[in-house]
Amino acid sequence: MRSESTVAWIRLIRLEFARVIRSGGVAAAVLLLLGLGVYASWQGNRRIQAAEAATSAAETAYRDQLAYLSSIYPPTTEAGEPLYYLAFPAPQPPSRLSALASGRMAVETASLRIRLLALEGQLYEHETLNPRLAAAGHLDLAFVLIALLPLFVIAVTYDIVSGERERGTWRMARLFARPRRLIAAKIAARVVLATGLVTSPALIGAFSTGIDADGRAGWAIALIALHTLFWFALCLGVAGGHRSSTANAMILVGVWVALTFLAPAVLSLTNALLHPVPEALELTVRQRQGYHEAWDLPRAGTMESFFEDYPKWSDWIVPEDEFTWAWYYAMNHRGDQAARDASHAYRDILTRRDEWARRWSLLVPPLATQIALDRLSSADLGTQLAYQEAVRSYHERLKAHFQPFLFSAAPMAQVDWDRVPSFEPAVPAGDAPQAGLPAAAALILISVCALLPRIRSRPSPDS
């Protein structure tokens, strides 16, 4: 009995599926979206390759520079001198998931090289990006699936009931199944169409070159599925009513524009207005002043403030009348000290922006999905802040490593370059469920709300 009804059910879905795919323009739209999706996944994988090329370029450049400096300086040169030039690589490998969502990858520098000098001036270097291309927006698979796929969902569902009614076929269709069941079959066929013919192949393309096995990809796929289902729920909520097809289409396209473009733009502007970042310029000015003033001040004072952070060296006396590298690097440290408060305030503001965005994005399904995906693929603002933190701690480890050479005025021959600390990449901020769960919960909740009008009313009486 049960299996019989399942068979009938599947047959209904198959019939409906065949009807949809043959209706005007649907097959073409599927092909177009699929083409865009495959193109975007190919681009995503190219971006990963480019990021990997940048990380290896940073490492190669360091080795070349070290070889060059070793060749031009006699081994008796004080280590402090080549260290002035040497830029150590801090490469952050891209996440595999960024083939799906590349987030802020285009604007961030992921492979900084840092010198032993004052750090604050070195952290914020820009990528070589072409601002015009960046302003045009970038295309990744997440954009295709989050911004464009819903439009396809709208196109195939907006007249799901009204179309039958307007053509006068609704009464006949009702002879085959109960309205609720019929609508369910129609929706199911369209879900199969969207997820089976567009989402799945594109995702397979994006992950074809490999995937991190840490559950993040699973969360990403779940979020995309939930987001697609939200649009089906919304379409059903709107299109299951009594309105004409044209009114349905206008409402749904309007909601799509509001959720995909207006809400993010309004939230983005609000965020910028609520959390201004004057500290960016403040820290730049302070660091420069803090370092350069020290040249004209008594050295003992500079060393005093240096010893506050590194008490280990406080027994060393730095001569007032001759240049020492220990003093030189202490002056640089003074620059970072001068910028410290501004730098903390700067990071606080950006962290607040990041948290604010994550909180408020939960109200807007496409945004909630996008921001969660960015976080899962380590391409959000939080990840960039974590990277800067990792670079800071690397800089500290480098300083700790080289201070003995600087204070003892050791020749560079004494430095064992193979034992220089290497960069430890930042770990992704927040684990996978933490990044994905709020968005998933929000998507489910909003989907249920979108369906509420249909659950309470009788399904589409054919008036």
């Binding site: 990528e127 045009a136 733009a265 391409a379």
Partner: protein, 482 residues
């Protein structure tokens, strides 16, 4: 007589749209979004500009108040400049959000500007920014579509089209009336936004230059929106049902305003790849190695230069030169490193321009790209403004660094070089950095493709409407479309 019919049709259509609650609601929405965007963007731009001006003043004062210093010390102290946005950046920020705002000018190296708006933004930014330009360029066309997709098709569906024809209105008059009425509604949405923008621009300090730019913006957006109005009426007249017209118009809007810019940017980046910052820095370092390293005492270039100077002044050692040899080395070294770095920078910029070229040609396919391009040109926020700032800052950098090197050569003795200082009054004699943004005429003439694209955008639907005029009575009467 002809004009009267046209106006009658237009008045009829306006009446119909005024009764359509969707159209009224959308009109209110678009206008309020536009006004909110002007207020928000203006506030944001003003606070950014105030900050930059404040820090620029601070930095200039710090420069002038330097104690007596050795010139080479000052070469490393350098100078900070902040990029000022154009007065109309609140209307269209153009590429400004993606370009750095603060640039450190120092000796030996060309730094890249840092701290762009985009780096301080979360992932939301990718969906677009709420600016008056976005509202006019992206949202308003969709409103035009919503207001006009049923303008002709609706008459046909209700059977009133035949009635109109029977009453003596020609197809041309009907189409003309529809274009006028949809255009009037578009104007009703655009005008408040334009007026608020103009009002805020007039409050700013550079009102006269802004006026020409505002006129250019008004002309550009008028042409762009006129194209949308014509297209909407054209499609509405061609399709058998207004539902089909709506579907087609929305599809066109998505293709032109949402997909094309991103696809274009992606294609441009793929066709003309550029090195990452890490690769670029490595290339510059590589090129500088071995050619005139001023910090390397045995450098072959400087050995040859020393021999030349010794011969010219007819002395046996650098100590006997009447000028400071250390300063000469620093000056010549700066020239070499600046040249190498500028060459690489120019190569990178050339790659950017090739990418821009792809976008410019794609403007012929997507008028949205063309309109955006012209809009940022007219607002003074295009890539050429960013590049002008960079180039002028670099020229300023080179100028002050070489002045400092000249002080080193002539005012500092070679013996006991590092112990000497330049008097503090000298610092106030240095030029201050006052960049000149590119002119409006220059920015517009650099964009022939975009200007042509906008012309084409109006011409195509206009011709289509003209040709389709005769078929209007037949179309759809038997229930068939095209």
């Amino acid at each position: 007589m002809g004009l009267r019919n046209t106006l009658l049709v237009a008045r009829r259509q306006i009446g119909a749209m005024r009764e359509d609650r969707y159209v009224v609601f959308l009109l209110a929405l678009v206008v309020s979004m536009g006004v909110v965007s002007v207020l928000g963007a203006r506030h944001h731009a003003a606070s950014e500009a105030e900050q930059r001006a404040r820090y620029q003043t601070l930095v200039e004062r710090q420069w002038a108040e330097q104690p007596e210093r050795h010139p080479h010390r000052v070469i490393h102290y350098g100078f900070l400049v902040f990029r000022e946005e154009a007065p109309l950046a609140f209307f269209d920020p153009g590429v400004g959000a993606y370009a750095g705002t603060s640039l450190f000018l120092e000796g030996h190296r060309q730094n890249a500007a840092s701290f762009s708006d985009a780096r301080h933004s979360t992932g939301m930014l990718r969906f677009g920014r709420l600016t008056p330009a976005t509202v006019l360029g992206m949202l308003l066309p969709l409103f035009v579509v919503a207001a006009g997709f049923a303008s002709v098709g609706g008459e046909r569906e209700r059977g009133t089209l035949r009635l109109l024809l029977a009453q003596g209105a020609t197809p041309g008059q009907i189409m003309g009336g529809k274009v006028l009425s949809v255009g009037a509604v578009a104007l009703a949405a655009a005008l408040p936004i334009g007026l608020v923008t103009a009002a805020f621009a007039a409050v700013g300090g550079e009102a006269p230059t802004s006026a020409t730019r505002l006129l250019a913006l008004a002309a550009g957006y008028a042409a762009y929106l006129a194209g949308w109005v014509l297209l909407t009426v054209w499609v509405s007249s061609r399709r058998s049902s207004s539902r089909a017209a709506l579907a087609q118009l929305v599809a066109i809007w998505v293709a032109l305003c949402v997909a094309a810019p991103r696809l274009g940017a992606s294609l441009a980046a793929t066709l003309h790849p550029i090195p990452s910052r890490a690769q670029f820095t490595a290339q510059v370092e590589e090129a500088q190695r071995g050619v005139g390293d001023s910090h390397n005492p045995d450098d072959p270039f400087f050995s040859a230069l020393r021999d030349e100077y010794l011969a010219r002044y007819e002395v046996a050692s650098v100590e006997e030169l009447p000028i400071n040899w250390g300063g000469v080395v620093s000056r010549e070294g700066e020239e070499i490193t600046s040249r190498i770095q500028e060459e690489h920078q120019q190569a990178l910029l050339a790659a950017h321009r090739r990418q821009d070229g792809i976008i410019a040609w794609l403007g012929l396919l997507s008028p949205y790209l063309a309109a955006r391009d012209l809009s940022m040109a007219a607002a003074g926020t295009g890539p050429e403004a960013v590049e002008a700032f960079r180039a002028q800052a670099e020229a300023h950098r080179y100028d002050i660094i070489q002045r400092l090197n000249d002080l080193h050569v002539h005012e500092i003795k070679y013996e006991n070089d590092r112990a000497q200082r330049i008097a503090r009054q000298e610092w106030t004699r240095f030029p201050v950095f006052r960049p000149n943004p590119p002119t409006l005429g220059r920015a517009l003439t650099d964009r022939p493709q975009s200007l042509a694209a906008l012309g084409l955008w109006i011409a195509v639907p206009l011709v289509g409407l003209g040709l389709g005029r005769k078929r209007l009575p037949r179309l759809g009467v038997d229930g068939s479309g095209l």
